[in-house]
């Protein structure tokens, strides 16, 4: 995503300033959709001019000025349009107040913007795209690139998302205290999805996609700074860091997936692990345990084992039991079955999987077959395990996972062929 010709420092500066500038412009003109377009244009203008002319003394004021100018142009043309339509005379100054009348309170703008972009009226893909642009300061082209769709399609998606928000009539401001908790969960979920989008490998411009996880961490960090006492925000940030710490080790030289037990743990990023564990420890001490904290705790247990054999599976099992009590999520049940197998033996895990066969949410899902194959292999039934790896490979829509599962199937068949 560094295709703007900017050095990393300017790039970060621009991205950090984007939500602040947008907040100021929205507050002034009270039009989220148009203000968002104006700020996007200001960011693009900065990316063109700054490398040539140097970073201005007050970059924030520079961006606000350019965005205001764009907004004024927009208001003027809107006015002209309306005048053409209604022949009414309106007060231009009222619609486009002078720049020096700007209020400078941008304390919570990042948070307000996140609440708007992760609005419940939006589908996840729309919320993700809008968040990356309005709060993350990415260009439409960069977002389109990351999701491998044409730029016009992404522009249209963003524009529709803004129309939906406008139609919902939500004012620019923090949600009411009753709504706040639920709306914050929606924000965290979108950030989690952005992280997962980036947590990828193989085909496509994957380096760019890896930056999506970096972007998710940056945004979650910003939320954590604004809401330092929210344990789930800290939990999500910890989860991302503790997972991200293994990103280099989880892919081989041929971009093949390497599962946890076979990863070279020397490649794990200890700085991220320490930060994640510190965040998690502080969050857990606050006493309001949530799903992100528990998932982060599982990641921490893995990260703390110097060797795969030293993994504290009884603790992971206890954490999944807590998670199971909190949510009725079949993926949690699957991971719980793995933990049961690691602690009490594969047949106990397989027994739990049989109960999942009738779960419609998992019917035909490759993950169920993949876990079954894994546990069958643990139980020594290589032939059936190989069969289930193949079924799983046929059901996944992820290329890296299909390749991984095919290799597992092939590995087990080979062992059988070589057996006397």
């Amino acid at each position: 995503m560094m295709d703007r010709g900017l050095d990393i420092r300017s790039e970060h500066l621009l991205r950090d300033l984007a939500p602040q500038v947008l907040g100021v412009v929205i507050r002034r003109f009270r039009d989220f959709a148009a203000a968002e377009d104006a700020v996007q244009e200001a960011l693009i203008a900065a990316a063109l001019q700054w490398p040539r002319e140097g970073i201005p003394d007050n970059p924030r004021a520079w961006l606000i000025r350019v965005a205001f100018r764009r907004m004024t142009d927009h208001v003027r043309s809107e006015l002209a349009r309306r005048q053409r339509e209604t022949a009414a005379v309106a007060d231009m100054e009222q619609l486009a107040p002078p720049v020096d009348a700007v209020s400078e309170s941008d304390q919570d703008d990042t948070l307000i913007l996140l609440f708007m972009c992760c609005h419940p009226a939006l589908t996840s893909p729309s919320a993700i795209a809008l968040t990356l642009r309005a709060v993350g300061g990415l260009t439409t082209a960069e977002i389109a690139n990351a999701f491998l769709v044409p730029e016009a399609t992404m522009a249209q998606r963003i524009s529709r998302a803004k129309s939906s928000i406008k139609a919902s009539g939500v004012p620019f401001g923090l949600p009411t205290s009753e709504e706040r908790e639920q709306r914050l969960r929606a924000v965290l979920h979108v950030l989690y999805l952005i992280y997962n989008e980036g947590y990828t490998s193989s085909i496509g411009p994957h380096l760019q996609r890896l930056e999506l996880s970096r972007e998710a961490i940056r945004l979650t960090r910003a939320v954590h700074v604004l809401l330092p006492d929210d344990a789930e925000v800290a939990g999500l940030l910890a989860l991302m860091l503790l997972t991200d710490a293994r990103s280099t080790a989880r892919m081989g030289t041929d971009e093949e997936l390497i599962p946890l037990p076979r990863q070279n743990r020397a490649l794990w990023d200890q700085t991220k692990i320490s930060e994640g564990i510190a965040l998690l420890t502080a969050a857990l001490a606050k006493g309001s345990i949530g799903a992100y904290q528990l998932q982060a705790a599982v990641a921490a247990v893995h990260d703390e084992a110097a060797r795969a054999e030293e993994t504290d599976w009884p603790q992971i099992l206890a954490l999944y039991e807590l998670l199971k009590c909190m949510s009725d999520n079949p993926m949690v049940t699957l991971n719980h079955a793995i933990a049961v197998a690691m602690v009490h033996g594969p047949s106990n895990g397989l027994e739990l999987l049989r109960a999942l066969d009738s779960d419609t949410r998992l019917a035909g899902h490759h993950r169920l077959d993949a876990v079954r194959a894994h546990l069958l292999e643990m139980a020594g039934d290589h032939e059936t395990a190989s069969k289930h790896y193949r079924i799983a490979a046929g059901r996944t829509t992820s290329i890296p996972e299909r390749n991984y599962l095919m290799r597992q199937a092939a590995r087990l068949s080979k062992t059988d062929e070589m057996a006397p």
Binding site: T123, S124, P125, S126, F147, L148, V149, P150, A152, T153, M154, A155, Q156, R157, I158, S159, R160, N196, E197, Y199, T200, S201, S202, I203, G204, H206, R209, R250, L257, P259, L260, M331, I338, R367, A370, V371, H374, T397, S398, I399, P400, E401, R402, Y404
Partner: protein, 131 residues
């Protein structure tokens, strides 16, 4: 999630299409154009192409030395790929909905053709959580 919608036509259908009236052809393409417009407006459009008529199609195989061996038209084939749409939608139902609209494109006299549309999900480079 991305899908490819494959419009497959029977050999007989391709032949009779050539006998359509100007008006019927226009109505059919207006229908497809309307769908493309909607896909673009909804931010779902990825790509769309129509393929040249099967008369010019070649089947290529590598010879023992790797040189291409081309067969002419494949008279034994009963069905041909006529064109495709790639879309990025929120859920599979939406892909089926678009496919049904494509299938309902008008034929001679305006009656829906009911062409079969094959709906296939496109694989992604993204790996979900690791096992």
């Amino acid at each position: 999630m991305k899908y490819i919608l494959l419009m497959v036509g029977a050999k007989a259908g391709v032949d009779t299409y050539r006998a359509w009236s100007e008006k019927d052809i226009q109505a059919h393409f207006a229908h497809l154009k309307g769908i493309n417009k909607e896909l673009k407006e909804r931010g779902e459009f990825v790509a769309n192409e129509g393929l040249a008529p099967p008369d010019q199609a070649k089947v290529v195989r590598a010879g023992t030395d790797g040189t291409p061996i081309t067969d002419g038209v494949f008279p034994e084939a009963k069905e041909f790929l006529l064109g495709y749409w790639m879309i990025d939608v929120d859920h599979p139902q939406r892909a089926y909905e678009v496919a049904a609209r494509l299938s309902a494109g008008p034929g001679p006299g305006g009656a829906p053709l009911g062409m079969p549309i094959e709906v296939r999900q496109i694989m992604s480079g993204r790996a979900d959580e690791l096992p």
